[in-house]
């Protein structure tokens, strides 16, 4: 396989200031997260049924939202890669998939911790829970594919196809699990959220979104640098001593 990548353009797209701005953005994201967590925990009254367990909502729900945003980014970036064939879209898809899988895992773990005292079980075959688990496994497969394929062009093409098909499957999985449950028994459903909690939920949602952007950009930058290093090594090898 040939990597006919113009190196100068690559280096130009990685300006030196980029990293510092990103670090500042990260600081802002973390501060925003801490502030909205503290605000959410201090201002919201204990829930009538769940008591202070309700506070898990401020991490659980934002990470679920943002995991979906991350997978949406994966789908778009994969589509762009298949269309235009530019490496940056592949690297963006990979970065978003990693962070999205992380947040999905976090969602599942927190949901389980919340479910034990509330529903009395660590796990229930609820449609949302089950389809989130399937989504998690789908993208674990995506990441496994990436790590098992060495050739970068091949890895990019293949993971773009797998990422798109995986994203396409999300609504179908959700629908099928929902039917499966309703044909057997009613699904248990957390009640609608009280207005007292809405602001905490929103601010935390935004804070986690900032964190998500920071993680993806940081990962993306690292991936770009890795690729650049590979190109440089390749060029040095081709030029000889």
């Amino acid at each position: 396989m040939s990597h006919a990548v113009p190196l100068e353009r690559d280096r130009a797209s990685l300006p030196a200031t980029n990293g510092r701005w990103l670090d500042w953005f990260g600081v802002i994201a973390v501060v925003a997260l801490i502030a909205s967590q503290v605000n959410g925990v201090l201002t919201s009254p204990p829930d009538r049924d769940m008591g202070h367990l309700q506070k898990i909502m401020y991490v659980h729900v934002p990470s679920a939202w943002n995991a979906f945003i991350a997978f949406f980014v994966v789908a778009i970036a994969s589509l762009l890669y298949l269309w235009k064939g530019q490496e940056k879209h592949d690297l963006l898809a990979a970065s978003a998939a990693e962070v999205g899988t992380l947040f999905t895992g976090l969602t599942l773990a927190l949901g389980s911790i919340w479910g034990r005292p509330t529903w009395g079980v660590w796990w229930t075959w609820d449609p949302r829970l089950t389809s989130t688990a399937v989504l998690f496994l789908t993208f674990v497969g995506y990441l496994a594919l990436r790590s098992f394929v060495d050739d970068s062009e091949r890895r990019a093409q293949w993971s773009a196809a797998v990422g798109l098909l995986g994203a396409l499957n999300v609504p179908i999985v959700y629908m099928s699990v929902k039917w499966w449950r309703t044909l057997h028994q009613m699904q248990s459903n957390p009640s609608t959220v009280d207005p007292e909690y809405v602001i905490g939920l929103r601010t935390n949602g935004i804070a986690v979104l900032l964190l998500l952007i920071y993680f993806i950009m940081k990962r993306y930058r690292a991936a770009r640098m890795e690729r650049l290093a590979e190109h440089l090594v390749e060029r040095a090898a081709l030029e000889g001593p």
Partner: protein
Amino acid sequence: MPLAQDLRRVRAIIWKDLTTERRSKAGFNAVAFLGVLILLLFGFALGPDAEALRNAAAGALWLAILFSGVLAFNRSYQLELDGAALEPLLLYPAPRWTIFAGKFAANLLFVLLVEAIVVPVAIILFQVKSVAGWLPAGGVLLLGSIGFVGLGTFYASMASRSRAREVLLPLLLFPMLVPVLLASAEASSALLAGNPMQDAGAWVKLLIAFDVIFVVASFFAFDHVIEV
């Protein structure tokens, strides 16, 4: 007539794959035997109680089909790679989708033949009393197999050319197949329990939708995937 020529190419690939299989029979024997073995193991795991076995029959049958059938897909490309035949195949002046169509059809026939052995064994081992209509049951089997084989053939085109292909294919394929497994197992179990068709109807629609979406998506994506 370009389409007629393309169909001739598809037929040639089907014939080639099936002839290779017919001459060795190694793949078919192993896969069919593994399917029967999985059914037997499920029987042991679920205990000798006839009622429990009967309730689990559809699920166990579908898992046996998935776990044994998945071995066939990588093999279908592995034989090409072993003989360094994939690249010559790609060099033929024909659209890429004909390769996918040929492999898909050959794998589908292969899996249906395996099912012809595994399904009767499941009916006997799990003491299924009656089937409400053989025709709908066969239809569910066919629809489930199309979804399974379509995605399996597509993912195997990548997995077979990667490191750790034995692990990678099920890891990629099985999460995608959750709707197929749910729909096929539920529809089959409604039919095996002698329920009228309306219970299975929604699942059959879901299976058809899944098959159409993912077979079409695989056809398009295969072009990109086989190229590199």
